[in-house]
Amino acid sequence: MFALDAQQLTKVYKGGLQALKGVDLQVEEGDFFALLGPNGAGKSTFIGIISSLVNKTSGRVEVFGRDLDRDPQGVKSCIGLVPQEFNFNLFLPVFEVVINQAGYYGIPRREAKARAERYLRQLDLWDRRETEMRRLSGGLKRRLMIARALVHEPRLLILDEPTAGVDIEIRRSMWSFLRELNAGGTTIILTTHYLLEEAESLCRNIAIINRGEIAERTSVTALLNKLSTETFVLNLRGRLSELPELGGFVLQALDDCTLEVEMNRDHTINGLFDALSRNGIEVISLRNKQNRLERLFLEMVDRRAAASEVGA
């Protein structure tokens, strides 16, 4: 059974904007799934339809075998949503926000309090339980949105740009929490338009949506294998007097001590180091010039944009 099965999903907004053009997407139960796409690609519309915030124009959605049209309450009870924008009553204290959300799902108050305490502790918010929402920082609000989305213990957690505007430390702790949650059996779908590192680091499967259509749907590993070349930036121990000729590698000096190397997938890092050593060049450290997924993503989006321009 799929956690999510969307078929031929379309959405035409008033005014004629076609945000989704027949999207088919299946997400396996237990998956950690990334939905990538540039701004305006249709990610939030897609998420909005699944979570009942947006009315679909046509198509079908099933969540754990429950049809959104026939059993909307069944579908809603399976889903937890962490939206992109903050959507709190800013004058309520943290604890009350989570307890109210549990109440909306029909969870009795005593049970709601116990669950709220559990998730607030897990997300390091328990000490802030009496704080009004408007006094929380952006990062704490993001974490609270996760606690709120989990209080009814959904089988499918959807996170729309979950770490937007969050500092690195909080982002890492959120990633760690989400990994544990997924390991515990919760299916997770996250969307992102810029933090591709997030998708590469967390997700097993991925779909790229562009202009309301699924451009690619595969595993993260398979997608990364599509990269024909990779570019590394090397920090050198000594000064580079002359750019050496290395067969199979394209070299460019960024400055006297920094070298950029483009290599295709037939070559290995070991081979690169051997060749550099033979030329008396010592490497202190290296890094990817660009996130690999980001590069692929941009290539795909550019390709499809070019194709649609030709088609037009």
């Binding site: 915030l53 947006v54 009315n55 959507n87 959300q101 109440g103 909306y104």
Partner: protein, 258 residues
């Protein structure tokens, strides 16, 4: 746990949230109506009322008590729901409810009950103030309470519909200013419609507030311009109509979904 038990928890959650909301800001929500009606009692009752004499066989001050109580109920029920629901739309925390499995009728019932609660609290406060100025013997507490509750429910529904259509904070003040206030003032709060010429008497019958004020006046004083059954019947028809309309708006997601 049955569906009905879950629905009850959801209803209770919305209602508690709404009551806490207006209770936290009681200086803005409860006190103004009490002060305003106290002024009405002082000015229209004591200062001017003595010169008016009697109306419907009662001192003018006694005659206006039911209308003033109901005016508090009407404006507060309406404004509670319109401001609370519109704020939840504006700040998008209505999404907390929309993504939950709460049925539309439970959401509506929760907000309407919250509005009715504020209306009744203000109504009781105004009544308490009235008792400082008059010595009214309540004619029928059951009629009084029932029409008070029905009025609170009806205008909470009105506030809900206003909030659904509102796109700005201006939109939630237009209806109270240009529709609700005239309806209330022309609904027989300060006068008996028997004082009006024939045409205006007929036109007054299209005003739902008239039925409620008169039913409430019957409950308090035992007199009414409108037969009691008609007053209750009309109020009930308005309640059913607005309930069906509100549920239809929620089902289609008007104003809350794209």
């Amino acid at each position: 746990m049955s569906d009905w038990q879950r629905y009850w928890v959801t209803f209770e959650t919305i209602l508690t949230k709404e009551i806490l909301r207006f209770a936290r800001i009681w200086v803005q929500t409860i006190l103004p109506s009490v002060i305003t009606t106290t002024l009405y009692f002082v000015i229209f009752g004591r200062l001017i009322g003595d010169r008016i004499g009697t109306m419907g066989g009662f001192d003018y001050l006694d005659f206006i008590v039911p209308g003033l109580v109901l005016m508090g109920v009407i404006t507060n029920s309406y404004s509670n729901v319109v401001s609370s629901f519109y704020s939840s739309k504006f700040s998008r925390y209505i999404e907390e409810l929309l993504i939950s499995p709460a049925p539309n009728w439970v959401i509506l019932a929760g907000y309407v009950a919250g509005g009715a609660a504020r209306g009744l609290v203000v109504g009781a406060a105004v009544m308490a103030v009235a008792l400082l100025f008059t010595e009214i013997q309540v004619h029928s507490p059951a009629v009084m309470l029932l029409i008070c509750l029905m009025t609170a429910v009806l205008f909470s529904l009105g506030g809900f519909i206003n909030a659904i259509y509102a796109n700005s904070f201006d939109d939630i003040s237009i209806v109270p200013t240009f529709v609700l206030t005239p309806l209330t003032y022309l609904g027989g709060v300060f006068y008996s419609i028997e004082l009006l010429p024939g045409f205006w008497q007929g036109l007054s019958l299209a005003n739902p507030v008239l039925y409620m004020v008169n039913a409430f006046r019957y409950g308090l004083l035992g007199v009414s311009d409108i037969p009691l059954g008609v007053a209750f019947g009309m109020t009930l028809i308005f309640i059913v109509g607005l309930t069906v309309y509100s549920l239809s708006l929620l089902r289609r997601g008007v104003g809350i979904k794209t």
